[in-house]
């Protein structure tokens, strides 16, 4: 079923999202996340390791069941109509998940076929995307020979095969060298410029500052800050009576109760 995105429909909406893992003891990975991301936004989702970022993304992308709460992507309930939601979203998770034995072109054609395209349409779309991410020269080489940056760009392309409304990216630049990171940023700006909403998690605060219209910081399974980078900096400046805007790093440390000690970030017991 195709659901039109209207002005009242958020690109992503989550209410009271909860995830518990049950085993010997119950682990509350996400404890009630509320989000509303408007169409066309680049939204950054930040948090320390183990805060619940990836779990939240995996719930929103139908890869993990939701313990309680609701989540809609492009107006589609991800729990009730997961296939409908998958048709409206593109997903590129941590550590580009690619098949090293296929060529870049084969991977994109296969992805297109899995989204219901005919062989010729999938092939044409693969060609467009290879041009978009500037991998035409490497298109017919096996992926195992690609560099980290090339894999990330191919992963991005594969998430865009079916022209999704919302693109979910889990740490899209982790492990990349600075040049590759800048290239991925350019790709993301270009993709967002075409109207695709982007939801990205990152550990790089500079990345969030550069790319995101709004950010949310999650800690211990709960969202502890949400707003534009400028709003979050202004709030901290006013609260602490600072002379100038703090960096996003300082906002992050303040929000998560961690402090910087001799170059490392350390946790402060609360």
């Amino acid at each position: 079923m195709i659901y039109p995105i209207t002005e009242s429909t958020a690109a992503v909406q989550a209410d009271g999202l909860v995830k518990h893992y049950t085993g010997k003891e119950v682990i509350e990975a996400v404890r009630g996340v509320d989000l509303r991301i408007e169409a066309g936004e680049v939204f950054g989702f930040l948090g320390p390791n183990g805060a619940g970022k990836s779990t939240t993304v995996r719930m929103l992308t139908t890869l993990l069941s939701i313990t309680s709460g609701t989540a809609f992507v492009a107006g589609v309930d991800v729990a009730r109509d997961p296939d409908g939601a998958r048709r409206r979203m593109g997903v590129a998770l941590q550590e580009a998940g690619l098949d090293p034995r296929q060529t870049g072109r084969e991977l994109l054609v296969l992805q297109g076929r899995l989204f219901g395209m005919s062989p010729s349409a999938a092939s044409a779309r693969a060609g467009e995307l290879l041009a978009l991410v500037e991998l035409e020269d490497a298109a017919d080489r096996r992926i195992k020979g690609y560099s980290g940056g090339m894999k990330r760009r191919l992963d991005l392309a594969s998430a865009l095969v079916h022209e999704p409304d919302v693109l979910f990216l889990d740490e899209p630049t982790t492990g990349l060298d600075p040049a590759s990171r800048l290239t991925v940023w350019d790709e993301l700006r270009r993709i967002n410029g075409r109207g695709t909403t982007i939801f990205l998690t990152t550990q790089y605060l500079e990345e969030a500052d550069q790319l995101c219209d709004r950010i949310a910081i999650i800690d211990d399974g709960l969202i502890v800050r949400q707003g534009t980078p400028a709003q979050l900096k202004a709030e901290l400046r006013e609260r602490r009576g600072l002379a100038s805007d703090p960096s996003l790093d300082e906002v992050f440390l303040d929000a998560t109760g961690r402090r910087r000690v001799a170059g490392d970030v350390q946790e402060v017991s609360r």
């Binding site: 409908g84 048709r87 997903v91 034995r101 084969e106």
Partner: protein
Amino acid sequence: MTQAWVLGQRALREGWRTPEALLPTLFIPLFFLVVNVGQAARIFPSHSTAFLHGQGYGAFQLPSSLLLAASFGSAALFLVEDIEGGYFDKLRATPIPRTSIVLGRLIAEAVKGVLLATALVLLGLVFGISVASGVLGFVLLVGLAALWAVVFSGFMLSIALKTRSAAATNSAGLIFFPLLFLTPNFVRSIRSPT
């Protein structure tokens, strides 16, 4: 079904591009065939061994080799690689039935089973084994070997999905050997008189 076939084609490409995983599937059964025939053919000469029906001992051993070839599929280990490398999640994020991911691999195993069984029987023909039931028997033999490849791969894939571990999946494959030893694969079972 289209998605399963598309994923099956991908699994076949994967097999073709990984000869180090495919070739042992042919050579190990051939090795056992040669060793077993070398060990026991003199004990069971064709002219005086009733259960051989005039054929050489190799003809009696060939079905075991076919089963061995059909049970050496690599589908489950490739699936574990997909899971560990993150490609499995990529597939799960597409709007296809979850069963297609497994069905695609089973389709590829069936095709590989047909090719391997055909190769083994043809090699057997070169070494003097004949298929007494003719072309129909040959087709049935190859078809049954491929079907066993699908069944055993299905079992291995279920272990791979449950454990998500290459070591556990490899270990589960060893169950083939006790099953083999339970069969009368060296000599036809003889009912002792009561």
